[in-house]
Amino acid sequence: MTTATLPGRRAYRRNRLGMVAHQVRYEQLSFWRNPQSAIFTFVFPVLFVVIMGALFGSVGKSSYFGGLSALQYYVPTIAALCVLGSCYGQLAVALAARRQNGVLKRIRATPLPAWTYFIGLLAHCVLVSVADLALIVGVGRLYGVPFPSDWAAITLTLVLAAASFCALGVAVASVISNAEAAPAVAQLVLFPLLFLSGTYMPIHSQLLNQVAGWLPVRPFNEALTGPLVRHTGADWRHLAVLAAWGMIGAVVAVRRFRWDPRPE
């Protein structure tokens, strides 16, 4: 049989990296066309910084904000909030929905390896997080927050946090069996955590800060605040806590993730 060119067939043989790129490309297409994601990724963070700017724009460096200006305080926490939203929140909700409507089962029926699917999701979430961070830093500049300089530390923090919060998002999607419940559960876990971690206002309780320091959100806020506005380098202690949470999420995700809407 001459196999030089079979009409109706195309050589799609690609390496594994190509497969991840293929996956990311369509995740991105799907994501940006969804008006909801575009709004939450672009409009929400800008609006948040603008509101904080209007409220506290004139508040200079103060001890209330830990020696920072209000906007210097809020640019990293809002950036962290957006990364949380586009990694943890997005994945928990989207994966639960995809499982429920059969999209995951359909993917499982193809030769696409599971890890390629998840690496693709992670890469997609990192890209969205980078866009978010750039946007917030850009808008923050308009309110007098200077551009950061240590981009290596920022990149490291961002990628590590994105990976950890993606793992936690997949873990939550694995534990929830009902797609309708997913947004509520994901928010229910996140909302008190955000308050406790000083995302919305600085916390001056020693005890609360100690507790929050072992939970995932505050270490991320701290790890971003360092290189973004304090001009200190990578915050290894807080990054280690983040990574530990990522590992916990990954273990739960690997053990509990299901592709099939119907339980065995």
Partner: protein, 332 residues
């Protein structure tokens, strides 16, 4: 579904994936068992599907069709019995990747992402396979030509189902599982889908389908495997299932007003307001009946002669019109 089906050089030379000496059957299932807790979903299922054959799995809800399919597809582990699909064991994790490369799947749920276009949806799926079909070719095959740039969310239910079918075909499978493939199709689209399935068989694709539509099983299947309560209760070509070809013919008509049943020249029953005569000699009994009617100037309105339909056999073998199966059909 106007486009001519071409499987490259494969139509003449056999399927390119297929080894020279492949096993005689595409699927063999022997003594399959599967329980969920105390529920025996599959008790004892054995059947086989030959290469290039269309086999329909029939049975009421809960008969074990979906569980059987999911075990064959490698989605579920079996408790007992032997299963071989394209010479591989779907329960063997190392075989699953190869199996998924060579099989296609159309599931019951419409599972497509809303914000991609028709072409993007298929191109994405095509990228998962080593040797996929051409995207425009598949779009033509399922009759979605002209809708390539439409977003999936703007498609009608029937169009989404056709896209689902296209996703099952894009990997150029040797074996295709169709789980109630034409649910939600209009009659013309259903005919088109049937033609497509027959064309696929003609080019060497093996098809295992489930359906609640007896007309579909009758029209498409070379053989029917009827499940009830987790076991095979009948198997054979649709026209001979359950000894259907040897059964008595049935003459029926509306009882003329003022005529008691006892006056009829042949023994008869009343079923659902109609006279029904089950007959081993329909020629003779029909003549006695019509002579009797003509002499009395009586019209036998709604007069029909038929043999038990596939649906009659189905209902008899699965417990006589148990409402579970019927209810689902009427809903869809």
């Amino acid at each position: 579904m106007q486009q001519e089906l071409t499987r490259g050089a494969a139509s003449a030379a056999g399927h390119p994936h297929q080894p020279e000496s492949h096993p005689p059957d595409a699927i063999t299932v022997a003594g399959l068992r599967k329980s969920y807790g105390s529920v025996h979903a599959v008790r004892d299922v054995s059947f086989s599907v030959r290469h290039s054959e269309i086999v329909a799995l029939l049975g009421p809800n809960g008969a074990g069709k979906t569980t059987t399919l999911e075990i064959l597809e490698g989605f579920r582990a079996r408790d007992g019995g032997a299963v071989e699909v394209l010479g591989l064991d779907p329960g063997d994790r190392s075989a699953v990747r190869d199996l998924r490369e060579r099989t296609g799947l159309v599931l019951q749920d419409i599972a497509v992402e809303p914000y991609l276009t028709v072409r993007e949806t298929l191109a994405r799926q095509a990228g998962y396979y080593q040797g996929p079909r051409d995207v425009p070719e598949v779009i033509g095959l399922v009759g979605l030509t002209g809708l390539e740039k439409r977003k999936v969310r703007s498609l009608s239910g029937g169009q989404k189902r056709r896209l689902d079918l296209a996703l099952g075909l894009i990997g150029d499978p040797e074996l295709l599982y169709l789980d109630e493939p034409t649910t939600g199709f209009d009659p013309a689209a259903r005919r088109g889908a049937w033609d497509l399935v027959r064309e696929l068989r003609a080019t060497g694709t093996t098809i295992l389908l489930t359906t609640h539509d007896m007309a579909e099983a009758q029209a498409l299947a070379d053989r029917v495997v009827l499940l009830n309560n987790g076991a095979v209760v009948a198997e054979g070509p649709p026209e001979r299932l359950g000894g259907r070809d040897n059964e008595r013919a049935r003459i029926s008509f509306t009882l003329p007003p003022g005529v008691p049943v006892a006056d009829l020249p042949v023994p008869a029953d009343i079923q659902n307001g109609a006279v029904v005569i089950e007959s081993a000699d329909p020629t003779g009994e029909l003549q006695r009946l019509t002579n009797w009617a003509v002499q009395r100037d009586i019209t036998l309105s709604g007069l029909t002669v038929d043999r038990p339909s596939l649906e009659d056999v189905y209902l008899r073998l699965t417990g006589g019109g148990a409402p579970s199966g019927a209810a689902e059909r009427s809903l869809r």
